[in-house]
């Protein structure tokens, strides 16, 4: 590689253009998030710039109003249950797919990943149609079932990406030494694909926590999640409490994202992109 410490005028112009472009993109991507945070501290009830006075009263509203607290609790419980269930179900299924042979393996992979290709809008009404028949709409069970349909494919994809990295030799060594399959899975296989499973679980948590399109159809005015309640409030009135709720919600998802980056890295997103292009 050639190293040089000077730039030609043309290179300098290109460099500036690149910096300007990147700055604009960053501003564009972060603008809505920052706007919500700024607005949550605004004292006035109306969205009006410039902001003159600050206040914490919207945060007080956000944590004291029962409807918001209930929605928050629902979202949290739902995301925890969904993440746990889909990690177990998805990892097991990935194991089964991984051990399948030949055409079967490709077929099962595409089959399990199919829900990702269908718009959630369509999945949402299809689920409402069927679950409604059993009187399940507006229940946590319906929301849970809807959410695992969305999250299981992601867990399968991530665990499936990790499994080929486990050396067959150490698994066989475990069998030779007398371990049965469950012990080998828990002590050898899973620890080796720890990062895939953890990112799968945390991503499943986020997908469920953020989910709008499935919840929108399966929730009711009584059993609600935060994204649905935010949307419903936005459609009806301008209540700055939404800004405070959104800010709290955003800080939570951001911390999970940071934890992911610091522990297992965000590479799995790249992995999923590489997979997507293979499916073409």
């Amino acid at each position: 590689m050639m190293t040089k410490n000077y730039l030609t005028p043309k290179e300098r112009v290109i460099r500036w253009l690149v910096y300007i472009f990147l700055t604009l993109i960053i501003v564009y991507l972060l603008a809505p998030n920052l706007a919500v945070i700024v607005m949550s501290f605004n004292k006035s009830k109306y969205l009006q710039f410039p902001i003159t006075e600050l206040s914490l009263k919207w945060f007080e509203n956000a944590v004291t109003i029962p409807a918001w607290r209930r929605a928050f609790l629902n979202s949290l419980v739902l995301a925890l249950l969904t993440a746990t269930a889909s990690t177990v179900i998805g990892s097991l299924a990935a194991l089964g797919v991984h051990h399948s042979r030949g055409k079967m393996k490709d077929m099962m992979t595409s089959f399990f990943l199919a829900p990702m290709a269908i718009p959630q809008l369509l999945l949402g009404i299809a689920l409402l149609l069927v679950l409604g028949r059993f009187g399940l709409t507006g229940s946590m069970l319906a929301l849970f079932l809807g959410h695992i349909l969305v999250t299981v494919p992601y867990v399968i994809r991530m665990v499936l990406a990790g499994l080929p990295t486990v050396s067959q030799n150490i698994e066989e060594a475990a069998y030779t030494l007398g371990a049965d399959e469950i012990t080998t899975l828990m002590k050898i296989t899973l620890p080796n694909i720890k990062s895939s499973v953890i990112s799968g679980a945390l991503f499943a948590f986020i997908l469920s926590f953020d989910n709008l399109m499935i919840s929108l159809f399966l929730a009711s005015s009584k059993v609600n999640t935060i994204p649905v309640k935010i949307l419903e409030t936005l459609e009806w009135e301008m209540d700055p409490t939404v800004a405070a709720v959104s800010a709290i919600f955003m800080v939570l998802t951001f911390s999970i994202m940071l934890i992911l980056q610091k522990t297992v890295g965000l590479d799995f997103v790249g992995i999923s992109a590489r997979r997507a292009e293979k499916e073409q």
């Binding site: 690149v18 990147l22 993109i25 991507l29 972060l30 603008a31 809505p32 998030n33 706007a35 109306y46 969205l47 710039f49 410039p50 179900i89 299924a93 089964g96 051990h99 399948s100 089959f111 399990f112 199919a114 829900p115 269908i118 718009p119 369509l122 999945l123 009404i125 299809a126 689920l127 149609l129 069927v130 349909l149 299981v152 986020i206 926590f209 953020d210 709008l212 399109m213 929108l216 159809f217 994204p227 935010i230 949307l231 936005l234 459609e235 939404v242 959104s246 919600f249 955003m250 951001f254 994202m257 965000l266 997103v269 790249g270 992109a273 590489r274 997507a276 292009e277 499916e279 073409q280």
Partner: protein
């Protein structure tokens, strides 16, 4: 211990052990994916009963036929236009971004990638609310523009199609950049260097080598973003205002308003069909034009 051994035998030792491992996921796929979608398709062929009670009727095509009436064909057209506009803008912004992230040695690259991934993690309702604050009549943009003296009166941004596109591109850019980025990353440096050694300048190298080899990534991004844009709900509903009708908002008003299930189901499948056509056309075009080069390049 007996249970554990039985579980071990069931999951790993039986003739159907692979099916046992995949069992729960298969059950989910069957009961929550295949059955609902097939059922929904059947309902899309039923006649609408104005009492709102959903009951089987003889199969009709009138729910799909509605898309040939002026109002609903305009809705379908608007949806396609929104999808094309969003996807094109996302591509025009996303390709250079992916190229810069993949090829240049800028500082803070990790921070930029982190910021780029935020739309995957922050709920769409929160971000759309952010855009509402920014684009509002008395919002941030109008405040900045008027105080800078650029405009005398606030401009109406919110509840316009422009606002919908701004909000949609903001959510979808990540999904465009990711596949293009990984396609660019998978190009061997030797391929680009070979072109340079043979005398090609950077522009020609990009046209002849980099662009054709990154086309699979572009296609993947195009597919993903188009499908998600035409099926997006929050941006059209909140940023587009009450009179901005696209397929998704029409669909929801059928379900939560008039209870016209058959038509809502038909809307869903028309949406899916539009998406599949939009995936097929560019893939076919690429096969026809640079397909031969592409296959050679992949060897």
């Amino acid at each position: 211990m007996a249970f554990r051994n039985a579980l071990n035998a069931f999951l790993f030792r039986g003739k159907y052990s692979l099916w046992a491992q995949m069992g729960l996921a298969l059950l989910i796929m069957l009961l929550l994916f295949i059955v609902p979608l097939v059922w929904l398709f059947v309902v899309s062929l039923w006649e609408y009963n104005s009492s709102g009670v959903l009951a089987a009727t003889r199969p009709v095509l009138e729910n799909y036929g509605k898309f040939f009436t002026p109002f609903y064909s305009a809705v379908a057209f608007r949806t396609v236009r929104l999808g094309l506009l969003t996807t094109t803008i996302a591509l025009l912004l996303g390709y250079p971004l992916a190229y810069i992230l993949s090829r240049s040695r800028i500082r803070y690259k990790n921070i930029i990638i982190f910021i780029l991934l935020t739309p995957l993690f922050v709920s769409v309702t929160v971000r759309v609310f952010g855009w509402e604050i920014i684009l509002e009549h008395s919002g941030l943009i109008n405040y900045l523009l008027t105080s800078a003296g650029l405009i005398a009166e606030p401009i109406k941004f919110l509840r316009t199609p422009v606002a919908v596109v701004i909000g949609l591109v903001n959510s979808q850019l990540t999904f465009m950049v990711m596949p293009i980025f990984s396609a660019l990353e998978s190009i061997k440096p030797s391929q680009e260097e070979a072109a340079q050694t043979l005398g090609a300048n950077p522009v020609i190298t990009w046209f002849r080598i980099t662009l054709p080899l990154s086309i699979p990534g572009v296609l993947a991004g195009w597919t993903l973003v188009f499908m998600m844009s035409i099926a997006s709900y929050v941006q059209p509903a909140v940023l587009g205002g009450a009179n901005y009708f696209v397929m998704s908002t029409v669909l929801r008003s059928q379900i939560h308003g008039t209870l016209n299930w058959p038509f809502a189901a038909a809307c869903g499948f028309v949406l899916l069909a539009i998406g599949l056509i939009a995936i097929y056309i560019p893939t076919w075009l690429v096969r026809k034009t640079i397909g031969a080069n592409l296959e050679r390049g992949e060897e």
